[in-house]
């Protein structure tokens, strides 16, 4: 994997409206910095995240996708994040099975009070993705071998 010095990854963060989006707001309110590569998409609940959205992001050029939701037990809709947890576990496992770098996808539980955790998570995730370099494998998976 070539590491490009000037590589700035595109990262999509799906945040549930009630905890993690508010957590992201809090990290803004507290002026906690994280890289501008991270763009947040607001979804009502982590269980709204269709695996299709993640693949779509990769398809359109994202290098990393992270899902943030309420901590288990704290879901605004009671059970949403439990379903999200199972779905993401299996999706990530399947991607891993296909040989796609598993660090490109992540789930993190961030509460509305955890602005600092949100910023730290995004810093760490961006660092990981930058180290991994551009996402090519999903695209390359279909290419004929030379």
């Amino acid at each position: 994997m070539q590491v490009n010095e000037t590589f700035t990854p595109t990262i999509v963060a799906f945040c549930c409206n009630w905890c993690s989006y508010a957590g992201a707001d809090l990290s803004g309110t507290n002026r906690l910095q994280y890289p501008a590569n991270v763009k947040i998409i607001r979804i009502p609940c982590s269980c709204r995240l269709n695996p299709m959205f993640i693949l779509r992001a990769f398809q359109r050029g994202a290098d990393g996708v992270i899902l943030c939701g309420c901590h288990p037990g704290d879901c605004h809709y009671t059970t949403g994040n439990y379903y999200a947890r199972r779905r993401m576990t299996l999706l990530f496992s399947l991607l891993d099975f296909l040989g796609i770098e598993r660090e490109r996808t992540r789930v993190e539980w961030v509460s509305a009070a955890e602005g600092a955790k949100f910023a730290a998570t995004m810093n760490d995730f961006t660092e990981t993705i930058t180290r991994l370099g551009p996402n090519r494998r999903l695209e390359d998976l279909r290419c004929k071998e030379v």
């Binding site: 990769f58 398809q59 040989g99």
Partner: protein
């Protein structure tokens, strides 16, 4: 077996138990068996077969057939009955319109396996116990059944017939098999090796949709890939990415509903081992959320529609292995 299947079918029609029979008939070649609906005993006696090549899982056709007028009789092998139950669980089959006949199965053969054994010019074939008597242009050859079995039958999970109105042969039991062996072998590889494996396999895909069309779990009224409103419609892949998307999403959509019948791999004209994707998910669900077999009963909640408070976090898939 062949005779009793055909006689049962004919008598079901003659006695008026059903008005149609869903079974198999041969196509161009004797080993090219295809599903068929018969409406009279004459038709049944003329065309219906039950040979070592009746791999086709007939349960999916019941979604449409069971909604038609009159009762339909269907012949199901043990693995097909799992799909039959699973589809009922999803309210897809009108059970009252179906007369299900379970047929015990010694394992279905694969013409490619015979060819691989060096047999050429196949003209016919009869199974006798553990042996397959194959007629060829060059004379009759005896082959051990085990060597002729199709890939999926070598890892048969169960000989149990579920939810049948009648049974031909004897009721069987669940089997202990090593059907996850190949999944485990892949898991043991490095990410690069897995990537190379799948790149080799998936690059063969011609996107004929055979896997989707034969799959009993892929029985949506309209597939998301055919639906212009879904935002992901792609009847023909516009980019190399979309092939991956298709197989990943397909595996994900059938997760927890796939009975591991193996039809996807059987029908793939490019011989891509697609069932491995499904088996990987089945194996993960079994280890992470407790053993679950889709279609084994009517009550258990599928793992994708359930949860426990103690489920492992998604990071579990990266645990226990060194970061690479």
């Amino acid at each position: 077996m062949q005779r009793s299947v055909i006689e049962t079918a004919a008598s079901l029609l003659e006695t008026g138990v059903c008005t149609r029979v869903l079974g198999w008939k041969t196509g161009e070649f004797f080993y090219d068996v295809t599903p068929a609906v018969f409406t009279s005993a004459e038709e049944v006696r003329k065309d219906m077969v039950f040979t070592p090549f009746c791999g086709a899982n007939l349960s999916k056709y019941l979604i449409a057939e069971s909604r038609k007028e009159g009762k339909i009789a269907v012949f199901l092998k043990p693995c097909d009955t799992f799909s039959f139950v699973q589809l009922q669980k999803e309210h897809r089959i009108c059970r009252e319109n179906v007369y299900a006949v379970g047929v015990q199965c010694p394992g279905m053969s694969d013409p490619d396996a015979l060819k691989a054994l060096g047999l050429k010019g196949l003209t016919g074939c009869v199974q006798e116990g553990d042996t397959l008597r194959v007629d060829t242009l060059y004379g009759e050859k005896a082959v051990p059944l085990a060597d002729a079995l199709s890939l999926r039958c070598r890892g048969c999970k169960s000989k149990r017939l579920h939810d049948c109105d009648a049974i031909i042969g004897t009721q069987g039991k669940d089997l202990q098999t090593s059907r996850f062996a190949q999944v485990e072998a892949l898991e043991a590889m490095t990410a690069e090796e897995r990537f190379a494996f799948w790149r080799k396999e998936l690059s063969k895909c011609i996107r004929c949709n055979a896997c989707r069309n034969v799959c009993p779990a892929c029985s949506c009224e309209t597939c998301v890939f055919d639906n212009p409103d879904s935002g992901v419609q792609n009847k023909a892949a516009a980019s190399s990415f979309e092939e991956n998307l298709f197989h990943i999403i397909r595996a994900f959509h059938v997760a927890g509903r796939c009975t591991d019948c193996g039809e996807c791999t059987r029908v793939c004209p490019q011989h891509i081992p697609l069932h491995l994707l499904n088996r990987k998910l089945i194996k993960d669900m079994n280890t992470l959320y407790g053993v679950y077999q889709a279609g084994a009963d009517f009550e258990t909640k599928p793992p994708m529609l359930a949860f426990t408070l103690e489920d492992p976090e998604a990071s579990i898939i990266t645990q226990g292995r060194n970061g690479q």
